[in-house]
Homo-oligomer: 373 residues x 3
Amino acid sequence: MATNPETRPVASIERWERYAAASEGLTEYWYPAMPSAKLGRKLVHHRLLGQDLVFMRHDGRAHALLDRCPHRQIPLSVGVVEFPGHITCVYHGWTFDVTTGNLTAALTDGPNSPILGKVCVRRFPVEERLGLIWVWMGEGEPVPVEEDIPDELLRANARVYTLIRQVDGDWRYAAENGYDESHGKMLHRSSLWVYFKRVAAWNDTEIVRSDDKKWLLRFQHSVIAEDDYPGLGRWPRHNFFQRRQKTIAQGSNQHAVSIRLPAILRVVQPGRANWTHYEWYTPTEKGKYQYLVMAAAWNTGWKRFTWWLRYWSYIVWFHHYNFNNQDLDVVPLMPESHPERFFRPDVSITAWRRLVENDARKPGPKRATAAAE
Amino acid sequence: MATNPETRPVASIERWERYAAASEGLTEYWYPAMPSAKLGRKLVHHRLLGQDLVFMRHDGRAHALLDRCPHRQIPLSVGVVEFPGHITCVYHGWTFDVTTGNLTAALTDGPNSPILGKVCVRRFPVEERLGLIWVWMGEGEPVPVEEDIPDELLRANARVYTLIRQVDGDWRYAAENGYDESHGKMLHRSSLWVYFKRVAAWNDTEIVRSDDKKWLLRFQHSVIAEDDYPGLGRWPRHNFFQRRQKTIAQGSNQHAVSIRLPAILRVVQPGRANWTHYEWYTPTEKGKYQYLVMAAAWNTGWKRFTWWLRYWSYIVWFHHYNFNNQDLDVVPLMPESHPERFFRPDVSITAWRRLVENDARKPGPKRATAAAE
Amino acid sequence: MATNPETRPVASIERWERYAAASEGLTEYWYPAMPSAKLGRKLVHHRLLGQDLVFMRHDGRAHALLDRCPHRQIPLSVGVVEFPGHITCVYHGWTFDVTTGNLTAALTDGPNSPILGKVCVRRFPVEERLGLIWVWMGEGEPVPVEEDIPDELLRANARVYTLIRQVDGDWRYAAENGYDESHGKMLHRSSLWVYFKRVAAWNDTEIVRSDDKKWLLRFQHSVIAEDDYPGLGRWPRHNFFQRRQKTIAQGSNQHAVSIRLPAILRVVQPGRANWTHYEWYTPTEKGKYQYLVMAAAWNTGWKRFTWWLRYWSYIVWFHHYNFNNQDLDVVPLMPESHPERFFRPDVSITAWRRLVENDARKPGPKRATAAAE
């Protein structure tokens, strides 16, 4: 599957047409919007894929509508709940059933307002899994939400910790940075997370499709701990305590890093660490994205407590903040559409781009409620 | 005059051509710029209808010029008054007669500078009425300023209080919001101003032209205090003390709200309140406007004192701030040019748009001083 | 050489084509970037003529590269120095020889990375003179740096003080302001620098080319201290202590002010002041420029100490700050491309524009390293 990207001349993201067009994301997928706990009795506004949405909880279930009253485009999220299960626009009292998006009343025009039956607002299917609210951002009929969440996370003994940040940068460069083979060997070398670990100099990379076709797996071959660079010298230099370590652990987690659509990264932690790191890159609008990181382990009882202890004592600080902040720093430094000059390790990036280009779901026929709007 | 706006499909302001083009205002009118008291010995810059103006008081009279020296476009308002009745540009000493706009001297080129007689800066006619400075923003010959101020305000016993704010939003949506029939029944329901009043649910609306053709008057028929909405219930709910009130006062102020060109709102206060509220929406530049609210009463002697007391004890706080701030909050929420879906009460808005479209003064022949510039 | 600019109608900078196109500067020149002392052990980013540059000192010499890694356009200035004389990109370890711009290693792809020999980053020639780092911003072969620095500043006994500010405004209007004949007679009249001096009202101006063709010299004829302006009166008015001064010193520094390419101003201080003021206007990007002012005197030994004392006791405060701040205030007030109406003293500005139009160096053939990029 590997090609040698650097044999090509200077290029840019424009070479992948669908991918280049998706600056505000791939529509036909379920995306994590916010923690379930964030949606209580108040209306909540949230922006995803360039769309303003208003979320409301009714009878225990979460619902989402487009956050624009069709009358004069006032956000419904500044509206009020005059009747259970309905959002009333603060401006003129247009009242929408949050479960259907239909206009139930235009209060200030009386019960027989002629506008009734002629207007609705777009509804977005919503589900709750893993303590998160998920939204279907597609125009076509939604697939089951389980199709867009990695299977292992839906197991009964999965215990996940989630951290969400709204950050600057292009979601595609964030995904590429996550799956990128080589940046870990340079950018993250200075993070506290790997301070006592030995980070290799370089390796051969192979990208393989998973058996279920959903994931791209990344294999590392011939991992070289350190090497001699002509005219420069030996690299990397190691801390004094690292010199005693003779060899580098390799091969044990050959396909530790994988990626899938719409933009989900999975990093199985090496050796006996026994937990897995996930990332979701969800565009909110052009040049901004929601960065969700998740630590997952599968356990019960006493082990669940030690997992809780491990996450809050160091994983959240050293990995989700210190380590991942390096990614958040570098992604917005890449200009929107920039000339690129790929080298051998970028095979991971080009494979990911091809995956989006060829496999991303295409918008289906418009849903009924959307069409009537 | 009423048509049913909601029978039309989704539209936008673009349907009214002149109105849509007037994002920076209608030029051939007098506009209130600032309180007379603001213009003392210093030059004052003020922006109106997308133009920068410099104001100067000379021999007790207010004057206004375009705030740009024709030489290199430096603002004259950062200039100095080297000679009475003249503004001298701070950069090279070009000196303009504030009563004519003519270049009287180019100081740093000597008394015989060849530029003399070849340059002038646009002058804007200025008047003072009601304690305000009024500017003619037209290209044609100005009409008497009295034509652009409601007659009753010019009576000798009129006593007005004025509050001016520079705010975000489109002046047209501000005017529409002011004259809009139905937003008061929803948006303002939560204001302190109507806390002890009963606000009706809905009514029939009729728009009629005033006898002098200047105003659009708004009549309310069949005012319904509260009603049953199928599937939702009774609305509005009332405070416990409001339940005792059986009927709603109606008909006594049938045409309480009226609007006229360029964008003046008049709200005769109901019953024995005995004062009238006015609003002027003056664009300063695209997406910003000057919001002037005015409370007027007609009285003398002791009654003039009780009017002063009433204004400063509650009208300014509960109406000009708390109540009108709700308008200032909602107007900028309407996107610049947005799809609209009108309903029955919007007959007030469409009538106003037609008034502008058909009746707004058209630019006349250029004035002499403007042409020479 | 003088023409009467005010006989022409309203114009703008667009009349001078090359000049109008040079909103980000004239490329084929040496520009002062920063004090030599600012470049120590750390990488330094600096923007000049719309380009991002990274500066590095190696073996005592200053070097500059384009501040973009060709791989993904990450700034090299956030990179690290893993090896002496090389900048390593923080993202994937691409390592560039700072003296050539060549890629020496792609660390995370091993010593035999196929990308080697195929990539380089643009190098900018750098020199150090007068305690400043100078950069050749041209595409053609650089001229000797001495060609772009006034000769007298390179003499052994020259002692210069430099102040650099990054400011808003167009570098061309800054240069015009500097060389402008008449603004000093109005704008600077209020500065502390001339408080005890008599500033003339006006004079005749003549622009002459220097013998070495590099400079435009400005001659003042018939300097009039004060004059009578019809309808206005006598101008300027003087402080009480200035009345005793009968005549104004004139002719002794007839060509005190001169300008040359790319945009260097020279003001020989009058009489026995015995020092010269210089200004460099270097665009950093459109609408912003680097404003470098320099005070130079030629002396040794004890006189060098008194010069130090004079500069730090009053010249820096009264001239480089108070006086020159008036220029910094007025330049950004001129809109980007504005209608102009020239008058007689503007002969200095039109002569300067013609100098740029006719004499500015043209881009030569691309240099080898730039072409390979």
